[in-house]
């Protein structure tokens, strides 16, 4: 990779949405013939930056230079004519058309009598061949191809558009190991042809396997640009989550641990899993215990929680609840078995904006009773009074529409909603995300109180320190599988978890390399 002129240079890019500064003076440089990874946790601004580069979002401040020329991009078509193509996480092709039609859509070869299909299919075949897909018949329906190959067809499509910059936005999230390797072969061959590739992935191993250089974003700010050889995994993770290693080390784990009773677990799952979401996992949850799920975003935390709650149907595995084997395949069944799940998506899957605090609070109880038996107002008031005061919801006005409350207080109401169903197992997915420090501390404290009272809590958070503080036992997830289970105590800290995640990757990377040798030979 030579230090030639960058093909794309974004400088001082700022984008604001109402109330949020999504990007704050962020820069990005892409050179021809390199694979550049964009790293950052959820909400760090990765997708906003990509959308700025593809013309979907207008930039408020800053400049985009393409091949040295300042450009204003007004939309996908604009970006494509500037040589920037994007392949998204979900394959964005038309399954009703043939492979060749998809590759050539919008670039069909035209003659005097309109589109010349013979020439078009020939051109499609040539493009596919360049990416090692010469065995595909362009006249075959796209829907007959497996998802991974469709992904490669999508990349071929961007080659037709004479793309100089290829953006791959989490292209690997639904591929298995072999398919990822196939994709990487294609990426490397494109890189060698001089295409600049911007790669986004949550999988650290893949980032280290494919990248030449990376840019880290955090909270909408530029954190740094590094050569892949200059930064190790632990450093990278600490850049992403914004705590340096020393700070991570200094955070002390909580001293007083609840002792796990030796009795049989409340909930126990063996080999519970779902294709594309999480590999088969064993998990045991006891009464009076807070179990934390740690891992980077995309590691399968939410996916595991949704399987336990039945929001997604597990493909494999057995579930034992209170010593009895059972199947939890729908949220209604989970509720009936006294499992409650508070979603990470407070706005869309949590609160009902225009209903009052009271109505939001009694919603889950009402749902369990069924619509035919409305909850008497007296019982509603009792529930509302109990949880509004216990959780310290402010303002303590049950008739106020919930949208007028702060995020932290909305979260308290949601917590109350699930507690009102008197669950034995409470799953909290990101209960403290995006809320202020005071409310956060209150919720954390209340979770501890609940566990002391005998509730089993599964606690999920992106903040590793928070998981460490809160949990008696921590399950570490990475790349959609469980990699470790740590007893809480003095020995466990955010740092040790980061180390676990990073080292697991190192072991894996060498294993991957061995596999790759086999594949290529």
């Amino acid at each position: 990779m030579s230090e030639s002129l960058p093909i794309v240079e974004m400088a001082g890019i700022s984008i604001s949405f109402p109330g949020v500064k999504a990007l704050d003076e962020v820069g990005l440089r892409l050179f021809p013939g390199e694979v550049h990874t964009l790293m950052g946790e959820n909400g760090a601004g990765k997708s906003t930056l990509i959308k700025a580069l593809t013309g979907v979002y207008k930039i408020d401040e800053g400049e985009i230079r393409i091949a040295g020329e300042p450009r204003r991009l007004g939309g996908t078509a604009d970006a494509q004519s500037a040589g920037i193509s994007t392949v998204y996480q979900e394959v964005n092709l038309c399954t009703n058309l043939t492979i060749g039609e998809n590759v050539m859509l919008g670039h069909e070869v035209r003659g005097a009598a309109g589109i010349n299909w013979r020439a078009t299919h020939r051109a499609a075949g040539q493009t596919l061949k360049k990416l090692g897909l010469g065995h595909l018949n362009p006249k075959q329906a796209l829907s007959t191809l497996p998802l991974a190959v469709q992904q490669l067809v999508a990349i071929s499509r961007s080659m037709v558009a004479q793309c100089k910059v290829l953006i791959l936005d989490e292209p690997t999230s639904s591929l298995d190991a072999n398919e990822v390797e196939q994709l990487f072969t294609v990426i490397r061959s494109l890189r060698d042809q001089g295409v600049a590739i911007l790669f986004v992935s949550h999988f650290l191993d893949q980032v280290y396997a494919i990248s030449d250089r990376l840019t880290v974003l955090r909270n909408g700010r530029f954190e740094g640009e590094y050569r892949i050889s200059d930064i190790d995994r632990a450093q990278l993770i600490s850049k992403m989550i914004g705590k340096d290693i020393a700070a991570l080390k200094s955070l002390d784990a909580k001293d007083s641990r609840r002792v796990r009773p030796d009795a049989e677990p409340l909930y126990s799952a063996k080999g519970i899993g779902r294709k594309g979401a999480i590999d088969a996992t064993d998990i045991e949850l006891h009464r009076g215990e807070v179990v934390g799920l740690a891992g980077l975003l995309g590691s399968g935390r939410t996916e595991l929680a949704r399987l336990i709650y039945g929001a997604d149907r597990p493909d494999t595995g057995e579930v034992t609840l209170n010593g009895e084997q059972t199947e939890i395949t729908t949220p209604a069944k989970a509720l009936a078995r006294r499992i409650a799940f508070s979603s990470e998506n407070r706005r869309d899957e949590g609160i009902i904006r225009d209903l009052s605090v009271r109505e939001n609070l009694v919603l889950a109880v009402q749902a369990r009773r069924g619509w035919a038996r409305p909850l008497p107002r007296r019982e509603q008031d009792a529930i509302v009074e109990k949880y509004v005061s216990a959780l310290g919801v402010r303002p303590a006005d049950p008739e106020r529409p919930i949208r007028l409350l702060s995020g932290g207080n909305q979260q308290k109401v949601l917590l109350g909603r699930w507690l009102a169903t008197e669950p034995e197992l409470l799953i909290l997915d990101e209960p403290t995300r995006g809320i202020d420090v005071g409310a956060k501390a209150e919720i954390q404290e209340y979770v501890s109180v609940l566990a002391d009272e005998g509730l089993s809590v599964l606690f999920i958070s992106s903040e590793i320190e928070e998981v460490v503080r809160q949990s008696d036992r921590i399950i570490v997830l990475k790349d959609h599988r469980k990699i470790a289970e740590l007893e809480g105590g003095q020995g466990v800290s955010a740092d040790s978890i980061v180390t676990v995640i990073a080292e697991d990757g190192l072991g894996d990377a060498s294993a991957d390399a061995a596999v790759r040798e086999e594949v290529t030979t």
């Binding site: 939309g75 996908t76 078509a77 970006a79 494509q80 994007t86 998204y88 964005n92 092709l93 038309c94 399954t95 009703n96 058309l97 039609e101 859509l105 919008g106 069909e108 035209r110 009598a113 309109g114 589109i115 065995h135 595909l136 018949n137 006249k139 075959q140 329906a141 829907s143 007959t144 191809l145 497996p146 190959v149 499509r157 558009a161």
Partner: protein, 344 residues
């Protein structure tokens, strides 16, 4: 991946080749079925009633259904994108009543005809704007336009408006004898049939030989994907409603020319006939798959069915809609089967 090599060593021949083609292009199956049913109906009609496989019967089939063919072509565009246009029948009513009244009021007949077509264009444009820029559901937007069109036609007149026999508009309905067969068994066409044929040919060219046409199919497959591929989705969606409206205006001209009069209740339910023709012809209501030639066959299936019912004499006319519904149901079930195969 190893199963993807589809280039056979030797080209299979005969039935197997056809079967292979069909399995490769499952989309064509409903259209092929429509052709088979059409031929089956002709054979049954000839065997049961006679005088079906005759020049004059088939000529009349085309002449009497030219307007329906034009409407079905317009709806094929809309339905291919996954939309619907319910306004076409009402557009015909308003356009034809307005046209005839203007001609009778002394307007230049050719100018009035152009205006009739443009009325359709205007309705289509408004539908397109409502759908594309105000994000109204196509069903609701075109339903509103349907009520508007019907209402405007009724404001103009509630009685049949007759056209003078010597009006140039009627000349589009004159029967031209191309081949003089024995007795009355002639090949006869009208300028209306020629217009319909040109419309079909042009639509076929646009859908299969232009990028706009391919964008129509892509939108029907996945509108979001089409947008992310950088295709002009917004403009193309506007175009399909403008095309549908314009063709409804043209159908009004062809129909009025044949009939010689116009009334505000003309065309009630024609939008549903046109949708039925399109679906019978193999276009998926969810969009993305179908052929304009299939819609022509679908329109002819409906027309031939009416001929057979008239010939039979024993079937009460009231049963026509039940039979249409039955045929439609069979085709929709066939499409479900194809879709289920495709998902495998």
């Amino acid at each position: 991946m190893s199963t993807l090599t589809t280039h056979p060593a030797a080209e299979p021949t005969g039935v197997r080749a056809l079967a292979k083609r069909l399995s490769l292009h499952l989309d064509t199956l409903p259209t092929a079925a429509a052709v088979v049913i059409f031929i089956g109906m002709i054979i049954y009609g000839e065997a049961a009633y006679g005088r079906i496989v005759q020049f004059n019967t088939l000529s009349n089939l085309l002449i009497n259904n030219a307007h329906l063919i034009i409407l079905a072509v317009g709806l094929t565009f809309v339905i291919l994108t996954g939309g619907i246009d319910l306004s076409v029948g009402a557009v015909i009513a308003f356009s034809s009543v307005a046209g005839v009244m203007l001609i009778n009021a002394g307007w230049n007949p050719w100018l009035a005809m152009a205006l009739m077509v443009l009325i359709g264009t205007a309705f289509g444009t408004v539908s397109g704007i409502l759908i594309q820029h105000f994000h109204v559901q196509p069903f609701i937007a075109t339903l509103a336009m349907m009520f508007l069109g019907r209402g405007l036609a009724s404001i103009l007149s509630t009685v049949p408006e007759r056209l003078a026999d010597e009006s140039p508009l009627r000349s589009l309905g004159t029967q031209i004898e191309i081949y003089d067969g024995p007795k009355v068994d002639d090949i006869v066409i009208t300028p209306g049939v020629i217009i319909a044929a040109i419309v079909v040919a042009a639509a076929f060219f646009v859908l299969h030989r232009t990028r706009t046409g391919r964008t129509v199919y892509a939108i029907g497959g996945s509108e979001q994907s089409a947008a992310l591929m950088g295709l002009p989705v917004a403009a193309t969606k506007m175009w399909v409603y403008i095309i549908s409206g314009t063709l409804a205006g043209l159908a009004a001209v062809v129909y009025t020319a044949r009939l010689g009069s116009a009334q505000n209740i003309t065309g009630i339910g024609w939008e549903l006939d046109a949708i039925a023709a399109t679906v019978i012809g193999g276009t998926l209501l969810t969009g993305g798959a179908g052929f304009v030639l299939g819609s022509v066959v679908g329109a002819l299936v409906l027309g031939l069915m009416n001929v057979l019912i008239t010939r039979d004499g024993g079937i009460p006319p009231e049963a026509t809609t039940i039979i249409t519904g039955g045929i439609l149901l069979v085709f929709v079930l066939l499409q479900r089967a194809v879709l289920a195969r495709r998902r495998e």
